[in-house]
């Protein structure tokens, strides 16, 4: 794992920002020695969280921004996504695996983030929401790096 470093971006509330965010974090993860599968998982988690921020949080408002920060630490990557929306309670999001929800069109974003990342924290801010995601580098990745 490379030495600790951090990168931050302020993004417009548009779908183009989702691609920018995903690409930036994927590159960051690649530079920090994550495997191809891990990079895919990290990229998808970032995509889902930035979509939530743009669509549900900021409601595409040109007045509101999405802040994306990614930081590499010792064998882990921490990603923060902040919006300026009204916020939500993650406990109110229905379980997408429940039989009554399995055929729903939406509601799988947070579930996928949880599935792909090692930690997920959702915090209500004075203005908006903050999603913090952590991905640990797998032992295989570290071993390969040490070769």
């Amino acid at each position: 794992m490379a030495e600790a470093r951090k990168q931050e971006l302020k993004l417009e509330s548009t779908l183009d920002s989702v691609d920018v965010a995903e690409e930036m974090v994927r590159r960051f993860a690649e530079e920090n020695g994550f495997s191809e599968d891990e990079i895919h998982q990290i990229g998808m988690a970032v995509r889902e969280s930035v979509v939530n921020a743009v669509v549900h949080g900021n409601c595409y408002s040109s007045q509101k921004k999405v802040t994306l920060a990614v930081e590499s630490g010792r064998d882990r990557l921490t990603i923060k996504v902040q919006d300026q929306g009204v916020g939500f309670d993650p406990d109110d999001v229905p379980d997408p695996l429940a039989s009554e929800n399995i055929m729903r069109k939406s509601g799988r974003g947070l579930f996928l983030i949880r599935a792909f990342m090692d930690e997920l924290h959702v915090n209500r801010l004075s203005e908006g929401m903050e999603v913090i995601m952590v991905k640990n580098s797998s032992p295989t990745t570290s071993k390969e790096e040490g070769k």
């Binding site: 998808m44 669509v55 695996l97 069109k105 799988r108 974003g109 996928l112 599935a115």
Partner: protein, 114 residues
């Protein structure tokens, strides 16, 4: 990467060859419009060939579910063909793998409509 969808007819089965990423925006709307168009023309036997689809997000999954339901509601059926590993894994994680009929062989998929 942009999304592409082209349709071809084999007997009474319509095969939609998709390539690219099915994500919120162009990807999911292309899938939605393609299936809506087929349903409006009375096509009831549809195969989505996802062999060249490298990436699907939650919006894309939602669109697949919605397409499946709309075809079913018209008395037809929509089946999936040639899933890449990441797409296959995504359907497993979301427990949708058992909802969709998934094939790895086009001829067998066509034959399965009877």
């Amino acid at each position: 990467m942009s999304i592409k969808a082209s349709t071809r007819q084999v007997d009474k089965v319509t095969i939609v060859d998709m390539s690219g990423r099915i994500t919120l925006g162009e990807g999911s709307s292309t899938l939605r419009e393609t299936v809506r168009d087929l349903v409006s023309k009375g096509q009831k036997k549809i195969i989505l060939n996802l062999g060249d689809v490298s990436y699907i997000d939650s919006s894309g999954i939602g669109e697949l579910v919605s397409s499946y339901t709309s075809v079913n509601n018209q008395g037809g059926s929509l089946k999936l063909l040639n899933l890449q590993k990441k797409v296959h894994d995504l359907l497993q994680i979301t427990k949708l793998y058992t909802v969709f009929e998934v094939h790895t062989d086009e001829a067998a998929a066509i034959k399965s409509f009877g």
